[in-house]
Symmetry: C2
């Protein structure tokens, strides 16, 4: 499939400027063809207008039809074949196996959303029946369910070019809810974005959806994203990326005359606590698991464990020695793009100069800057070191982590209290350790969206129960997740019908409950029909 | 019960400044004793610190214990007796019957939240069971449910001194979720706030809750509210009031280093559409109902119908004449306080001078400014008039409304498209009218949180299905409601437990499901226990 580098607006190829950019292969430095054109304000307006025009028709489709559209997207994603994976690999430096695993994840979540809306109970349909004899005033018939917000803007992440980009859960949950989507393509993988967009258009055609349900606009300047978030007809936006970028767009979304929700998943330090019993019995196994998690995807995961806490002891010293040896053996690997590479390098330099830290170890092999390679790094400090320099509690994106030696569990509690919001917190412990740490656990519950026991934060399970969110700066709104079926909640709001004629109600609120969804009927959860 | 005028911080009476203010009886101009002291920054810090200290203990209580606390609040609210209602009446100019009805509503929603958390399914507990044999990687055990955010700030409304103030659904839903509350008392009804606070403390003592679970701070300056919203340990805030006040605090909440959700319920114009069939068959009945809704509570409802649309016709002329006569017969009545009265007066003056409007009629009797009385006003205009001056689409708080004469249904659609977000939209129609208006209804669905058929927006039903929210400027976040049991969602977020030991899980996630709550088990809604 030939790439055009143009905006894809409701299926049309559009470009009206010569301002363009190209992707690079980070491992070779080679510039990849073709040039991609920077979206103009007029093109952004056109994409949002197409989304708005498609909204009424799209939201009115039966859930089954939207589910078929999602399944068609999954099919067409697979049909893109090896060409798609090869383009992604070239744009990211990822091995093909990683690209293939990401594609599997995207197909998986797309089908999950299809099944979610086929089942229908996610709509949270509620009915309170009337009572015309109630005193002093009759009780009306009140029914409510979720409805889609309108056109949604999506900003993908550079580190998941397939599973958190055009084909990510942001796009798919918005489609599932009935919202059209305008994606701002990531400038580091524009070709991957264009190929993915074409799969969506093929699916839209097969599933007879209006083409305006999706547009892809490209651009490397901040202006493109800003114009999209400021557009008066955009009703919500989802973003995965850096704290600086996410916060800037969050501020813009809130400062609009009509503010919109801006759901950003941003930085996270993902601390890993090792309690004494676990350290004693499993130091070597934890060292293996931790270094594998730290270096998976070359450390370019938002769930990368950036802090490891343990109590000073012989076991801790042994653990430190083990992880040091393992990190020294890590081969430097190519990072996603020059911006991430340069931020990692300067972050490492600044930590090397930081008096609160000591370098415990790093990749023995030199990193090749021409290949944008990153060396893995391990630092060490104490509870006092963290207290003296709170910037050490911030994420440094890449394969580096800091071991924090604590003088007893009070130190761990002090560190826990000082933590910022994080996507995940991991505890390695025996059940006995855990039972003795009620205070620590209670504090950690306030700091994260996911608590992991004797595992590792990378390799997120995509399911109904997952929560990939957490207090700021992990996200801008801790109520929401960007992964798992709950992600659909970001793009809907309740609407309530009072004394509305039965035949005019959304089908899930009609007396007969023809879709058999779970409803809250006079406060009781049931799939029964309403009988007067 | 003697009023002290002091801050009530975790049950202690505190004041450290001589800066004070007093409430007035709006109907008589009489100043009411005692003086209320302006909260200092140190006092606000003390209240939030007490809330934070109480949080861990409060959130760890069994749901049954928190439900008992809520029931005790309902009991103690009733036990405040007539003295409470008399103080409210003196501070608001409301008749005692209205105060009593508000108290009933507060008791009702307080018990509703008690029952909601006793039942427990609101927690949205989810379980995805593990599969250790899955390839390429084993599937972990993932479980999630809602947990409370932390200390919550509440700003009550002047127009509901009991049901949307200290004893409002904001406070009660936060308590139900497990969040401590700091209320900023409304300066127009500080005595009502203090009495209500004392009922909460008596209930906390009886139910053995930490006193820090609640504090009341008083103040008339913006600084008090600002300091509360900016406090780093406040995790969310709820507000009911004006667009200007709500937006200012929303901006402050978003500009914090760590932004927090600020849930404001603000202005709303609540348009009422009368379609031809209804106008023909029920003009007189609708005129009765509309004027009753317009003047209920002296028009001081956020659900007040501020725009009425109909097609030019003999029926519409008859309807206009009927409502004009009824409005002329409305006796001027006292408004809540001098600020609202003066805003209403200047709003009416400005509309009287507006060339896009004509005065259709107003209360024949003169309003007495010394008693802060408001005359009811009806204006008339056309679709073009609204298009020429979009400020007419904004709420003017008080007993006034504007009739919009439309040249056919296209005009109605044009007005619908131009509407800002509104808490409610009402349609009077025959079922045949409605079936012919799919486009109009589809537009209105995007403009409001509640669609009413052949009724009136005032007299909100407090139940599971109600949604008292809507697109901005009705609220700052259209996903949430401030009335009804769904209001609890504002103060919680999901937390996810991965491979967590069963005995250490929150009880609602444990295999045996001892509370029998509905859970999403591998995607299926069930109250079953988990059997491996």
């Amino acid at each position: 499939m030939e790439l055009t580098g143009k905006q894809l607006i409701a299926g049309r190829e559009v470009s009206s400027t010569s301002d363009s950019f190209q992707a690079d292969n980070p491992a070779t430095g080679r510039t990849l063809e073709p040039a991609f054109f920077e979206a103009t304000t007029a093109e952004i307006d056109e994409a949002v207008a197409a989304a708005l025009e498609a909204f009424d028709s799209f939201k009115s489709k039966r859930a089954e039809a939207r589910a078929d559209f999602l399944d068609a997207i999954a099919d067409e994603t697979l049909a893109l074949g090896d060409e798609f994976l090869e383009r992604t690999a070239a744009e990211t430096g990822y091995p093909l196996a990683r690209c293939s695993a990401e594609r599997d994840r995207a197909i998986n979540h797309t089908r999950q959303f299809a099944n979610l809306i086929r089942e229908g109970s996610w709509l949270d349909a509620r009915i309170d029946l009337p009572d015309l004899t109630r005193k002093p005033i009759p009780k009306p018939d009140v029914r409510s369910l979720m409805q889609p917000l309108g056109p949604v803007a999506v900003f993908g992440a550079s580190n998941f070019p397939i599973a958190i980009s055009v084909l990510g859960a942001d796009t798919m949950s918005a489609f599932a809810s009935g919202c059209p989507v305008v994606v701002k393509g990531h400038p580091a993988h524009p070709g991957t974005c264009e190929l993915a967009a074409r799969a969506i258009y093929t699916a839209a055609e097969k599933a007879r959806m209006p083409a305006g349900v999706f547009s892809l606009i490209q651009g490397r300047s901040h202006e493109v994203g800003t114009a999209l978030v400021q557009h008066p007809d955009i009703t919500a936006a989802a973003f995965t990326g850096s704290l600086a970028g996410g916060r800037a767009l969050f501020d813009i979304a809130n400062q609009r005359p009509v503010p919109i929700p801006f759901y950003a998943e941003m930085g996270s330090v993902n601390p890993l606590f090792i309690l004494p019993g676990a350290l004693k019995s499993r130091a070597s196994k934890i060292a293996d698991g931790f270094v594998a998690a730290l270096t998976q995807g070359n450390g370019q995961f938002c769930t990368n464990p950036g802090l490891v806490l343990g109590n000073k002891s012989e076991d801790w010293a042994r653990f430190s020695e083990l992880v040091k040896e393992k990190v020294m053996a890590v081969a430097p690997a190519t990072m996603l793009h020059a911006g991430i590479h340069s931020a990692y390098r300067s972050g490492i330099e600044s930590r090397c100069e930081n008096e609160a830290l000591k370098v415990l170890g790093h990749s023995s092999e030199n990193a090749d800057d021409d290949k944008l390679e990153a060396a893995a790094y391990l630092f060490e400090t104490t509870q006092q070191g963290l207290a003296d320099d709170p910037t050490l509690l911030d994420e440094l994106f890449g394969p580096c982590s800091t071991l924090v030696s604590c003088d007893g569990l009070e130190d761990m509690v002090a560190v826990a209290k000082s933590l910022k919001g994080s996507l995940s917190v991991t505890i390695h412990a025996t059940e006995e350790d855990l039972a003795n740490q009620k205070e620590l656990i209670s504090i950690l519950q306030t700091k994260t969206g996911r608590l992991i026991f004797n595992g590792y934060p990378v390799g997120l399970e995509v399911c109904h129960s997952i929560h990939h969110g957490g207090p700021y700066p992990a996200t801008t709104h801790s109520h929401y997740t960007s992964v798992g079926t709950r992600a659909i909640e970001r793009f809907v709001r309740p609407i309530c019908y009072q004394d509305w004629p039965n035949s005019m109600l959304p089908i899930e609120l009609q007396d007969a409950n023809p879709r058999g969804v779970f409803r809250l009927l006079n406060g009781q959860r049931t799939r029964d029909e309403v009988v007067f």
